[in-house]
């Protein structure tokens, strides 16, 4: 007996939910921001879908443009997500190290260069 693909996929989906809830409920409140940016990076996996669609043969120009835009967005999502999470996690220390500056690592697809915080548009919201 062969189950159809959709049933297998639903099984996988449901198991993933349980694994997700199990793993994430162990994350302390302190790390919820890195958790969000980490999961942000993980949903960048949609880049795999973008690559597959961008790589389909016999596309129209329209499909090609849309799919390549998706590839671009996915890449930014993945690279930015992992880099920013790495930066953030590097700051959590058990003891104070005088003048400890964060050595930021890279992710798989882009090379890691040391860097320092630069001026970025700051929020000007008032409470």
């Amino acid at each position: 007996m062969h189950t159809s693909v959709i049933v297998t996929e639903l099984t996988v989906l449901v198991l993933a939910i349980f694994v997700g809830v199990e793993v994430i409920s162990k994350v302390p409140t302190m790390l919820h921001t890195p958790l969000m940016s980490g999961t942000n990076a993980i949903h960048g996996i949609v880049i795999v879908g973008a690559i597959v669609v961008a790589g389909l043969p016999d596309q129209t120009t329209w499909v090609r443009v849309v799919a390549l835009t998706a590839v671009a967005l996915g890449t930014m999502n993945v690279v930015g997500g992992f880099v920013v999470t790495d930066r953030m996690l590097g700051m959590f220390k058990q003891r104070r190290k005088p003048s400890a500056e964060l050595p930021a690592g890279g992710d798989g697809s882009v090379d890691a260069a040391r860097s320092e915080r630069k001026a970025a548009p700051a929020p000007t919201e008032r409470s």
Binding site: I6, E9, L13, A16, G20, V23, I24, V27, T29, M30, L31, H32, T33, P34, L35, M36, S37, N40, I42, H43, G44, I45, V46, V48, V52, A54, G55, Q59, W62, V66, L68, T69, A70, V71, L73, M76, N77, V78, V79, G80, V83, D86, M88, L89, M91, F92, K93, R95, R96, D107, S109, R117, K118, A119, A120, A122, P123, T124, E125, S127
Partner: protein, 465 residues
């Protein structure tokens, strides 16, 4: 073993890497390693995708990736820790947009032959387009609100809920039409445009103080959109990763709701904080109690001669970028033998755990950061509670006043400390627009001004003693 089996196994390795990455987040010690394992997993997945036998146009895909990667990396490195909520919202939107575009492109690719799309695939395409579009537009609005490009307060108009409900119903109807009826490109484009509009309208009425909930909800949405894409392309790694994110976002959303004692529906549809409540500058209430304003030097003396000081940070600290100054002040106090800890409310700031990241950036060791349950019993033994830019999370009305909109929300019981010092920009009500009786408490003194400037003055005062 065939090539497709090898690719499937590579995807399995990716799934394992992602689960480990989340698992390692249970402790700050291992978390950085976990994140790198996750990044490695992502690299494996991308490489495996390139190894697929029928993949065309590899060069153009690669060029697009090489061009866009540094943009993401630059943004991630340049962003200030105080701007992290915006950054997360932005990356979240970008991911959701990618999912919607994948759905759009895939539909257009297969659509020329009507009837060729199987029902399950069609449903998945619609879900991916719909959720991805909502997530993209909603995240951008959240970004704009947090970046103050548009007003953070709820934007409401009469009949708003009805408009939103009608729009959502229309979108669902349209999706069903595409699934069972004519599978036309134009309909799918209309669906995506409608989803974008809904995303905008859906987030506009939600106030800035509820952003932690919205961001984690949108995070869950993007995860679900990615999982739906996995059903379209029959790809397990997308299904599992998307669902891990979906579970995480949902869990965080519920957690935030619980921390505010409000239902998700109330957060999303309540337009909380639209009340431009009460006379903003009300310095005296009916009992004749009044706000006592004080000078930095007086507070410096209070702090320097205290045994135990608890710092309660809120979003005002982030806005003023005062985290480094707070740490410098704490250092000075510790040199004088004062015990300093930090009490962190789960919804302080604009995203879950926001304050922890800021204080970690300022080199505060994380064992000094106390969660609410741990911090509250300590307040009765605390000499001075130093509230910096926090408001609603220390509002005793949440405990005492059944008519308050935030009644029932667990708060930090700073009013149990011997003395309370509130650093605040002005008497304007906080983001939720609710009066705070803590400010009228006889134990409380207010130090008005920018949080950063005030903390600098306090440090100067302590130094001169």
């Amino acid at each position: 073993m065939s090539r497709s089996d090898a690719i499937a196994l590579a995807y399995l390795a990716t799934i394992i890497a992602f689960i480990l990455a989340l698992r390692f987040l249970s402790s700050p010690v291992h978390a950085p390693l976990g994140n790198r394992i996750g990044a490695l997993g992502m690299a494996i997945a991308i490489a495996a995708t390139f190894a697929q036998p029928h993949l065309h146009h590899k060069l153009s895909i690669l060029i697009v990736m090489i061009v866009s990667a540094p943009i993401g990396a630059y943004a991630a490195r340049a962003v200030k820790m105080t701007a992290m909520p915006q950054m997360v919202a932005l990356f979240n939107g970008v991911g959701g947009g990618a999912a919607a575009l994948v759905a759009l492109a895939d539909f257009h690719h297969v659509a020329p032959e009507p009837g060729r799309i199987k029902t399950d695939v069609a449903i998945s395409i619609m879900l991916s387009a719909l959720i991805g579009g909502v997530s993209f537009a909603g995240s951008l609005v959240a970004f704009a609100k947090l970046q103050e490009l548009i007003r953070g307060r709820p934007i409401v108009y009469p009949g708003q809920k009805i408009v939103n409900a009608v729009l959502l119903a229309a979108l669902l109807a349209l999706a069903i039409v595409v699934i069972v009826g004519p599978q036309r490109n134009a309909l799918v484009i209309a669906l995506v445009c409608g989803a974008l509009l809904f995303g905008v309208l859906f987030v506009l009425p939600i106030g800035g103080a509820d952003m932690p909930v919205v961001i984690s909800l949108l995070n869950a949405c993007t995860g679900l959109a990615a999982a739906a894409t996995g059903f379209v392309l029959h790809n397990n790694v997308l299904i599992v990763s998307g669902m891990l994110v979906g579970a995480s976002g949902t869990l965080l959303t519920l957690l935030m709701g619980r921390a505010m004692n409000r239902s998700l529906a109330n957060v999303l549809f309540g337009a909380f904080g639209q009340v431009t409540a009460g006379p903003a500058g009300a310095a005296a209430d009916a009992d004749g109690a009044s706000v006592r304003s004080t000078s930095a030097d007086d507070v410096a003396v209070m702090l320097a001669y205290a045994k135990k000081v608890v710092v309660v940070p809120g979003y005002g600290l982030a806005v003023a970028q005062a985290q480094h100054d707070v740490r410098a002040l704490a250092d000075l106090l510790e040199q004088r033998g004062v015990e300093v800890t930090y009490a962190i409310h789960p919804v302080a700031g604009r995203m879950p755990g926001h304050m922890n990241v800021l204080l970690a950036e300022a080199n505060v060791p994380y064992p000094q950061l106390k969660e609410m349950d741990e911090a509250n019993p300590e307040f009765s033994r605390t000499d001075v509670a130093l509230v910096i830019g926090a408001n609603d999370v220390v509002n005793p009305d949440a405990r005492n006043n059944a008519t308050s909109p935030i009644y029932g929300m667990p708060i930090l019981n700073v009013d149990q400390a011997q003395a309370v010092v509130v650093l605040k920009r002005s008497m304007n009500p906080g983001f939720a627009g609710i009066d705070n009786p803590l400010f009228l408490n006889p134990k409380t003194v207010m130090l008005f001004g920018d949080a950063k400037a005030s903390v600098e003055k306090l440090a100067g005062g302590v130094k001169n003693l």
